[in-house]
Symmetry: C2
Subunit: 143 residues, 2 copies
């Protein structure tokens, strides 16, 4: 029942790109700041680039930047690209063979409800929320 590092790192990079506006940010600097393997990050960002969430630029002054405004990226979209479907049980995945016990399964209704809860949760967060959320936290002890 865990989100792997792929999805977690992807969100952290997206948040960092959001903070830098329109600039291209090289992964080298992100990897150093966040203490993540650069090569591993590359494999994650390639997926986001192919999906059209970020734009990559080669050469000096290159790197990655967002294609949309931070508030237009739902966390769910990013996680689905990096982690695959967020179905909490195997039998709810699209590629799963239809279970012949589905109609008399005592737990399936609960799993469906959980799936909905998860999707709603991740739809309610955007990349902009990630950035501003932690900014608020920074100052929250000052009253």
């Amino acid at each position: 029942m865990t989100i792997s590092t792929r999805g977690r790192y992807a969100l952290r990079v997206m948040a960092e790109l959001a903070e830098h506006g329109n600039e291209f940010i090289p992964l080298k600097s992100v990897a150093e700041r966040q203490n993540i393997s650069q090569k591993y990050l590359e494999s994650i960002m390639t997926g986001l680039s192919k999906a059209g969430l970020v734009e990559g630029a080669h050469g000096k002054g290159g790197g990655y930047r967002l294609c949309r405004a931070p508030e237009d990226y739902k966390v769910r979209e990013i996680l689905e690209i990096t982690e695959g479907e967020l179905a909490p049980v195997a039998c709810l995945k699209k590629e799963a063979p239809t279970c012949e016990m589905a109609e008399r399964c005592r737990t399936l209704p609960m799993w469906r409800e959980l799936y909905k809860t998860l999707n709603d949760f991740f739809d309610s967060y955007t990349v902009a929320d990630l950035v501003s959320g932690s900014e608020e936290d920074k100052g929250s002890w000052i009253i």
Copy 2:
């Protein structure tokens, strides 16, 4: 982001035990009805037995039965025994080393919120709900 078969099977067995009241039910019959490997079920039920959720009886007429009323088993309790902690990210687990980036982590607040959402969700379901839920479903198409 999935619950494994261990937790799912455990819930289905608990629901079946609940339906049979005070009787001891042998795993052989459960395994046949639910089309699950009996030996695999044994390893799952041993954990629940050690944790005091079910009572096992040897010999003919033996099997497993619940120790409490079905409405006194929260789904969360059963899942935590079979699956371990339900923390959605590794860094929220108790045994995890405290992350030195925690204070400036842009995503941690969201994960904490998700953890709470999951715990609330699984606290809101009991074994009694699993049983009665599917009973309702059975009749729901008759109006």
